[in-house]
């Protein structure tokens, strides 16, 4: 057959492009994304663009309201709040991202194996998840912090260990439904090995819900870090995070309100942006809507 191989022109629009088109239409999600990119950029460039030195004190000035030199005012040590918030942002965002990554990794692996293998193994793995769900994790985190001191990496691990449970359940649910789908059965009938089936057919189809859930985990992780810092167990000076700044601000709420308002505002805006983006992604990646 000498039929020349026609040039395959019409490129299809993959589900990802489809989702991007849908996401662009969702105004809230987009401005959420823009805000996040802005924050990410600012915290990356902080050491270079921060107006004042991180530790630079001005005791005579003390806590001053927003002024020309200090746009967001100064704290009781006369340190510039804008700089403190920027550095705090770096810590809070890194905690958010890394702890979520830890939760993501453990959760996806655990959920995928338990969902795919099924049967007795699945029952045992899921029973374990239910048991861990029941444990008073807050207590273990408090103990971990008290026992091993408060280094950042332990914080990542502790928070990540709390959050992976729900991720595991979501991934398991997703894998269970996919396993029954006919295209997986077709792959079996081709004789593909289990691992190739997981790699080529299962994982790509679970990415949607996993991404959505990740965007929703980051805010809850950041909240958890802020919570721990309030109890004096999270980030320790000289490092600071939004949670720590807020807990200092709360103490002098009446006399120096700006010490509370600005960090509180930044944290809330970030959380809003993440949640809006998460919701936008969920609608865009929801297979039901993309199937019509």
């Amino acid at each position: 057959m000498d039929a020349s191989i026609e040039k395959i022109d019409e490129a299809g629009s993959s589900l990802w492009q489809d989702a991007w088109v849908k996401l662009r239409k969702n105004r809230l999600a987009i401005c959420g994304l823009v805000v996040l990119l802005l924050l990410g950029l600012v915290s990356l460039l902080t050491p270079w663009i921060a107006p004042y030195g991180y530790e630079e004190q001005n005791l005579i000035l003390g806590a001053s309201p927003p002024s020309a030199e200090h746009w967001l005012g100064t704290d009781i040590f006369g340190r510039d709040m804008l700089t403190r918030i920027m550095y705090g942002g770096r810590v809070s965002l890194t905690v958010g991202l890394i702890a979520t990554a830890v939760a993501l990794m453990i959760g996806v692996l655990w959920g995928a194996t338990s969902g795919f293998v099924g049967g007795r193994v699945d029952a045992v793995m899921m029973r374990l998840v239910d048991i861990l769900y029941a444990l008073p994790f807050m207590i273990f985190i408090v103990l971990l912090m008290v026992v091993f001191g408060r280094n950042i990496f332990l914080l990542f691990f502790a928070i990540g260990a709390v959050e992976w449970l729900t991720m595991a359940r979501i991934v398991r649910g997703q894998v269970m439904t996919l396993r029954k789908q006919e295209f997986v059965e077709a792959a079996y009938s081709l004789g593909l090995s289990q691992w190739t089936i997981i790699r080529r057919h299962i994982i790509p189809n679970t990415l949607g819900p996993v991404i959505v859930y990740t965007t929703l985990t980051i805010p809850s992780v950041m909240l958890l870090e802020a919570f721990l810092s309030f109890l004096g167990l999270g980030i320790q000076p000289p490092q600071s995070s939004w949670g720590l700044l807020i807990s200092y601000g709360v103490e002098t709420m009446e006399e120096f309100p700006w010490l509370l308002i600005f960090p509180g505002l930044t944290l809330s805006i970030t959380l809003f942006a993440l949640n809006f983006l998460g919701d936008g992604l969920r609608d865009a990646l929801d297979p039901r809507t993309s199937k019509d």
Binding site: L135, P136, L143, V147, P219, L223, F227, M253, N275
Partner: protein
């Protein structure tokens, strides 16, 4: 159903054992002992003290001794409050924490569920966006920020509600309950909205409408039961979170609860107190999880008859 409860409770025993062992090891690995004090303590007195609380025995012997006591329900003496047993301290702290958790859950359920159902009735309209954006604020607002704000507004400026204490002055339970409950009200609002929308898209709702039933009857009789199952399934883990959240609220509002005891105990290396509260919290959460699972199964007639949870 009964068989299901028994199997779950039996499974809880090894869990609690694991909890005890992990906490025991963690606690004894912590630097600083219960008796280190700012005033110098002569060595022989220190030895006598530790002997009295048999801290001088090898670790495993202490562990066995402790397990023996726990089985008999005795959680041992508190180091920080000499003369007080841990049982007594828990008993004094428990009512406040349980009450706080209950009221917070009540606030969360009533506000959360009604907001969620209200939003699901007319999706993607103002009636949907308003409660959901309020829910979003609830999720983004940490309790240690919300609490002081409420105190400032309602406690000090408007003088409506006392600012702290628990049970002494009337109305002093409102602010703590709202502070702790708001975060969960927001989460429940999103869950119930999702649950309701899922149910409202089912065919049997269309059948009910075709039968000429009124909108509100469709919502309450047909949709609510199925719609709220995800909320009930969420109550179990939510309680575990509430217990955690109560630490902060108890410090802000000076509530004599178990949470404050726990944080103090951790700081003061009050070993028996830490172990006692941890075990208590774990049992409380396991029982609560069991209850919420059983309700979820009981609500679904198919599962109720199978008598087996399908998890």
């Amino acid at each position: 159903m009964f068989r299901f409860a028994i199997t779950r409770l039996l499974q809880a025993v090894p869990v609690i054992l694991v909890v005890i062992s992990i906490t025991f090891l963690l606690v004894h690995a912590a630097p600083g002992g219960p008796f280190s004090a700012d005033k110098a303590v002569p060595p022989e007195v220190l030895k006598a003290l530790e002997a009295q609380y048999n801290l001088d025995q090898p670790l495993w012997q202490q562990y066995m001794g402790y397990l023996g006591d726990v089985v008999r329900g005795d959680f041992g003496p508190s180091f920080k409050y000499p003369g007080r047993s841990v049982n007594e301290l828990i008993a004094s702290g428990l009512p406040a924490t349980a009450e706080l958790a209950f009221y917070a859950m009540l606030v969360a359920l009533i506000i959360g569920a009604s907001a969620g159902v209200f939003a699901a009735m007319r999706p993607n309209t103002m009636q949907d966006y308003l409660p959901m954006s309020a829910a979003m604020i609830g999720i983004c607002m940490p309790s240690f920020l919300l609490g002081p704000l409420l105190v400032l507004i309602f406690g000090i400026h408007l003088e409506w509600v006392p600012v702290s204490g628990w049970g002494d002055a009337p109305g002093d339970k409102i602010l703590p309950a709202i502070t702790l409950g708001t975060g969960y009200a927001a989460y429940i609002a999103r869950l119930s909205r999702g649950g309701m929308l899922e149910i409202l898209s089912q065919d049997y709702i269309r059948t009910a409408r075709a039968k000429g039933l009124s909108e509100s009857l469709i919502i309450t009789k047909h949709a609510l039961r199925g719609g709220l199952i995800p909320v009930i399934a969420f109550l179990g883990p939510a309680f575990a979170g509430l217990v955690g959240g109560s630490f902060v609220v108890e410090t802000i509002f000076q509530i004599p609860g178990l949470g404050r005891f726990y944080v103090q105990a951790a700081f003061n290396r009050d070993y028996t107190m830490i172990l006692g509260t941890t075990i208590f919290f774990a049992t409380l959460i396991i029982v609560f999880n069991l209850i919420s699972d059983m309700i979820a199964i009981w609500l679904n007639p198919k599962l109720r008859q199978q008598g087996q949870g399908d998890n």
